[in-house]
Amino acid sequence: MISEKKQMQDLACFGGGRLFAEPKSTSNLVQPDFDSFMRYSRQFFDRQHYTNNGNLVKLLEKRLAEFHDARFCIACCSGFWGLVLAMSTLALKGKSEIIMPSLTYRRMADIAAWARLKPRFCEVDPNTLAPTRQSVGECINAKTALILGVHPIVNCCDIDGIVSLGKEHSIPVLFDSVESVYESSSNGKVGRFGDAECFSMHASKLLNGFEGGYVTTNNAELAHRLALLRTYGFEGQDNCIIPGGLNAKLNEIHAAMALANLDEMDQQVVKNRQRYRQYQAGLSGMAGIRLLEFDESLGTSYKNIVVELLDVWPLKRDETVTVLNAENILARAYYSPPLHHKEMSYPYIPAKLEMTDYLARRFMLLPCGDFVTCDDIDRIVQIMKFINLHGLGIAHRLAANEVGAS
């Protein structure tokens, strides 16, 4: 393939044309067969039952519980509120702190605040980008109410280590498995570990349900409580049996979308693998950049494309993102800034996390999902090569532009 950018001024950030007319994002935005979605829709339409634990929600919950090899699944209006409900239900009474990594979803501390828990941020492992038994263990104290194990964007965290740690200290363990719907560990599929696991069905995720989320668990009592809480605490009409409820119901249209996409998930993963292979081939041997590899010995979705920019890469990560964004390649910094550097107006434990700070400067996500073809990936790889080749010049010019602008 011939590079479309011949010289530096061809870059969109310096006034050249954009490489892509339509944005190429890191969101999945996968679309099921329209007729399949409409066939599911017909079910709620004919029953004139549009929400309030409808048949499609029940069917989706059954299918997802089977998919994850978990006993129960509770669908919610979003992963956000599913996490809030799971946290507030699982947290040990009389304890105040939740242990979570800082290198994670930018709203995670807000989620903890809604659950009235104080985040204590733990370190992550540089190889997995995930919390470990040791890094979580260092944070456990008399006030710990809950451990949030968070799977990174590629592969899984140390499930066994964190679960056994929780057991030893009698502290419940919740997994944020939003990026790990399709993943497996050596002990089975993600979705059956710890006390519960939370997932998202936001359009950007592997399972697109417009908006939505769900919690899986093997604990019957917890499943019952969560199902009550997402519907104001009601058991039947007019019968509120537990406090702390709200409306976190999933509607039937969103459930129809999720079901149609769930039916096609295996085909989606085949396409994801093709995209991943294209990146793998294109980026292999390129100096200064390392593609995070999926552990293919276990089940994986091949969805997210994460690269590390090594010391020899000529631009800073944020400069690279700027250059790519200008081309309509909506690359994103990986969880940056990390949570412990964000301003928080609610209680939290200040932390000094050198490894997290170091890692938060190095990784970025590249486009993936339904809008990205293998040809697009070739063009993205070409521009990465171009940046690598002209890196120093680009850096100087970016710096000059900045000075000029200020």
């Binding site: 017909r42 929400t51 104001y232 537990i242 301003e343």
Partner: protein, 399 residues
């Protein structure tokens, strides 16, 4: 009339299929399909997409309000409102409301203080507010019930005189007008519900209306980073986004609102005409508005003159496949989570307690037509006439 005619006593139910009480208006299959096809063609599913933007603009135009901010449901909308208003300590609200009004406060660490309501209109009794005021009260949540209004002008005046914030749970009030002003324009924020049982249906959904630019910016920043507009500091974000699918249904529902409102009003008038001559049942008319959506048909049953209790009448109706329901029941102040610590004030909300024991909600909306209303009213009338017979049945069944 012979006893077996009542389904409860072994007769055939009047309705073959269960009639729910909610509005449940929904577009035709063809319009639904076209709307969903549009979303699939655009491949834009959520995050303040083109349909949500269009819905917000249309709502602003229709309601005559500066900002309409669409959300995933009204409960989360009320939680966002309490966050954006930075309410603290205590907030006063009526107990005679759906439990979510109080739950939105509990989620934002605010203590709800329950006020009684007016026995005629069922709306917040402003004259009972004084007794509840103390230095911890920072706001008042007015609740506009039954397609009527709780005198928002007087409530605003009361709150402003005491430097309190005032906002409204208007889950029942979409489209209502108070003296030429659409109800979306009162207080700091008005929160509407677009739940399937409401006159404007998004399956689940809602919107927050305000004329205050700063508050609107805060609400948008709390909702999500998508469509946040001007970045302003907020304590914490929520996920309150409305999807494109929800917005598509709401847009069609908004198009249909004039005819759905007319249908509700026609049905309401029919209930009015048919129930008026029946002793012991009183239809509650939307109070304090010059235009109502008529989305609720709520009646009070006076057991002594009707001859049957409210609960007995509901049992009779349910057997006929009319899913009439107690609403609201029990009063929020008697619900789990709110009744503790109220031992000392038990009985302090006599009107609420009375209404919770005597009100029932009857079907109105897409599921009923004029004939159905006739048939429902006929069952009610028969129940009154055959009250002694039914009473002996209930006595025999330990009710």
């Amino acid at each position: 009339m012979k006893s077996p005619d009542f389904a409860l006593l072994g007769g055939m139910p009047v309705f073959a299929k269960s009639l729910p009480v909610g509005q449940l208006y929904f577009p035709s299959w063809g319009r639904y399909e076209a709307a969903m096809r549009g979303i699939f063609e655009r491949r834009y599913y959520t995050n303040q997409g083109p349909l949500v933007q269009q819905l917000e603009e249309r709502l602003q135009d229709y309601l005559g309000v500066k900002h309409a901010i669409c959300v995933t449901n009204a409960t989360i909308g009320l939680m966002m409102a309490a966050e954006a208003l930075e309410l603290k300590g205590k907030v006063v609200l009526p107990s005679f409301t759906f439990i979510a009004s109080a739950q939105s406060l509990s989620w934002t660490c605010i203590e709800p203080v329950f006020c009684d309501v007016d026995p005629l209109t069922h709306q917040l009794a402003i004259d009972k507010l004084d007794a509840l005021m103390d230095e911890h009260v920072t706001g008042i949540m007015g609740v506009n019930l039954w397609g009527g209004a709780c005198d928002p002008v007087a409530l605003e005046k009361y709150a402003h005189a005491r430097d309190l914030k005032v906002y409204f749970d208007s889950a029942h009030a979409f489209g209502c007008v108070v003296d030429n002003t659409n109800i979306a324009n009162f207080g700091s924020i008005e929160v509407f519900s677009f739940h399937a049982t409401k006159v404007l249906n998004a399956t689940e959904g809602g919107c927050l209306c305000t004329n205050d630019d700063e508050l609107a910016a805060r609400l948008r920043n709390i909702r999500s980073s998508y469509g946040a507009g001007k970045p302003v500091p907020v304590v914490k974000t929520s996920n309150g986004r409305m999807s494109e699918a929800q917005a598509a249904i709401a847009l069609l529902s908004l198009e249909d609102f004039p005819q759905n409102q007319q249908n509700n009003e026609m049905l309401f008038r029919k209930y009015e005409e048919r129930l008026e001559p029946i002793p012991g049942i009183k239809l509650v008319k939307p109070a304090g508005v010059t235009f109502s959506n008529y989305q609720y048909v709520v009646c009070e049953i006076d057991e002594s003159s009707f001859g049957l209790s409210r609960d007995s009448l509901i049992a009779v109706l349910k057997a006929e496949n009319v899913n009439a329901r107690r609403y609201f029941y029990p009063g929020t102040h008697r619900n789990i989570g709110y009744r503790d610590g109220l031992a000392g004030v038990a009985g302090s909300l006599p009107v609420t307690d009375h209404l919770c024991a005597s009100c029932l909600q009857l079907p109105v909306g897409a599921m009923v037509d004029g004939d159905a209303v006739d048939a429902i009213c006929e069952i009610i009338d028969r129940s009154r006439r055959d009250a002694p017979l039914l009473k002996s049945f209930f006595a025999g069944h330990g009710k």
